[in-house]
């Protein structure tokens, strides 16, 4: 038998290809090339395994989040901008000013390199716009089928805004319940782009940073801003139920006051969903001392992200842990948390 000498040589690794390979996560040369490609876009340093961040206060607010949204690009944003906004907002909901974030990529091999660059550029733009720095990160590549394209994992840190005393536990009977804008836009945007539902609409995700809004609210009312929460997954209903439980208070909503955009209402009618259960990425709900409600609303409305802020209800001492809503007809019903996955229904 003859031996083909060519078949015995090790094939040289592919370089600079169009797709991410397992080798890009190997810690070797391919990975170095990948990082050289991505790190400068983010403006991070990249040489050290961790970053040093100067903080203005001894207390640090910290939050971690993972982003697995499909589709990765949607009207109003993409997984990159969503990761920055989601992280910034989680820190801000503690009454804090976000300072820096870390970013880890979990990449399924085969992801187009162009898509990875596009997401990275989006992260960089969103971070710059929000005034936070991406200071450290990590990249892992997993085998085909072990992940769905691309996941981002972030940690955000920030410093408490002087005078803020915000916590999910600080809700008190008599507080006004405020919302910064219309609900349901993100969730319906994502649903409408999902395969199988086939909707066309002009709505886009409300994904945006809310930390400036929080700063304005705290500036207007200090510790009278009791509770802040961005009602993401599970929607307004789930967020309010969590807050009612954490503060051991009841929440009374007014159905007519809850701002629901016409297209969100239409999509919910069509799919049999409750708009109160639909996810948001660019609005917040606040419990504010009644005396501070009007000044806080005025401060919110002075910013674009709070232009449509309004009062949707009140915190009450009755039925602690429960959220009830005064219906259009003047009756009341309990607003429950979302159970499991939202499934479009026919009946």
């Amino acid at each position: 038998m003859t031996i083909d000498p060519l078949a015995m040589t090790c094939p040289a690794p592919l370089r600079g290809g169009d797709t991410v390979l397992l080798g890009h996560g190997s810690g070797g040369q391919l990975m170095a090339e990948l990082l050289a490609d991505l790190v400068p876009v983010l403006g991070a340093e990249g040489q050290d395994d961790a970053a040093t961040v100067h903080m203005a206060s001894p207390d640090v607010v910290i939050s971690t989040d993972a982003f697995v949204v499909t589709p990765r690009f949607f009207p109003g944003g993409d997984i990159g901008s969503l990761a920055v906004h989601g992280t910034v907002n989680d820190v801000a909901m503690m009454g804090a000013r976000p300072v820096a974030i870390s970013l880890a990529y979990v990449i399924e091999e085969g992801l187009p390199m162009a898509e990875l660059r596009e997401v990275t550029a989006s992260v960089a733009r969103a971070a710059a716009a929000a005034g936070v720095r991406v200071v450290t990160g990590d990249t892992k590549v997993v085998g085909r089928g072990a992940a769905d394209g691309l996941y981002l994992v972030t940690t955000g840190i920030g410093t408490p805004i002087p005078g803020a005393a915000v916590s999910a536990r600080h809700g008190a009977p008599g507080d006004a319940v405020l919302i910064s804008g219309p609900i349901g836009l993100h969730g319906i945007t994502i649903l409408s782009t999902r395969e199988g539902l086939g909707f066309e609409s002009e709505i886009s995700s409300d994904s945006r940073p809310l930390h400036r809004l929080v700063a304005a609210m705290v500036e207007a009312a200090g510790s009278s801003v009791h509770v802040l929460r961005d009602p993401t997954r599970g929607g307004l209903a789930s967020a309010l139920n969590e807050l009612a439980a954490a503060s051991a208070v009841g929440v009374r909503l007014d159905e007519q006051a809850v701002p629901i955009p016409a297209q969100v209402a239409a999509a919910c009618d069509l799919l049999g969903l409750d708009p109160l259960h639909v996810a948001n990425e660019g609005c917040l709900v606040a419990f504010v001392h009644e005396d501070a409600a009007e000044p806080v609303l005025a401060a919110m409305r002075a910013l674009p992200e709070g232009a449509q802020a309004c009062r949707i209800g009140a915190v009450v001492a009755d039925h602690p842990g429960r959220v009830v809503m005064r219906t259009l007809l003047g009756s009341t019903r309990v607003v429950d948390m979302l159970i499991g996955e939202q499934l479009p229904r026919i009946c």
Partner: protein, 80 residues
């Protein structure tokens, strides 16, 4: 049972079965129009599982609302 939502036919795309595009308050989706053969662009139809099952009778709709508005107590409060 039987979630049915009114929407306006904005386009008839034909085909077999015949299809069209229906606008639901700014949200558009393809719907099968085979069961409303007399429908035209601009008509409101009730859509259930992607099928138009009935053309909304505008006159009846207006009449119903007029009857409701004529209920004593209704009018006073509306004009408020």
């Amino acid at each position: 049972m039987c979630l049915g939502v009114p929407g306006k036919i904005v386009e008839m795309t034909g085909g077999e079965p015949s299809m069209g595009v229906v606008d639901f308050g700014g949200l558009r989706r393809e719907a099968c129009l085979a069961y409303v053969p007399e429908a035209a662009v601009g008509d409101y139809v009730i859509v259930h599982v992607g099928f138009a099952i009935s053309i909304v009778d505008e006159q009846e709709a207006r009449r119903t609302l007029a009857v409701l508005r004529a209920i004593p107590g209704g009018l006073d409060e509306i004009s408020r």
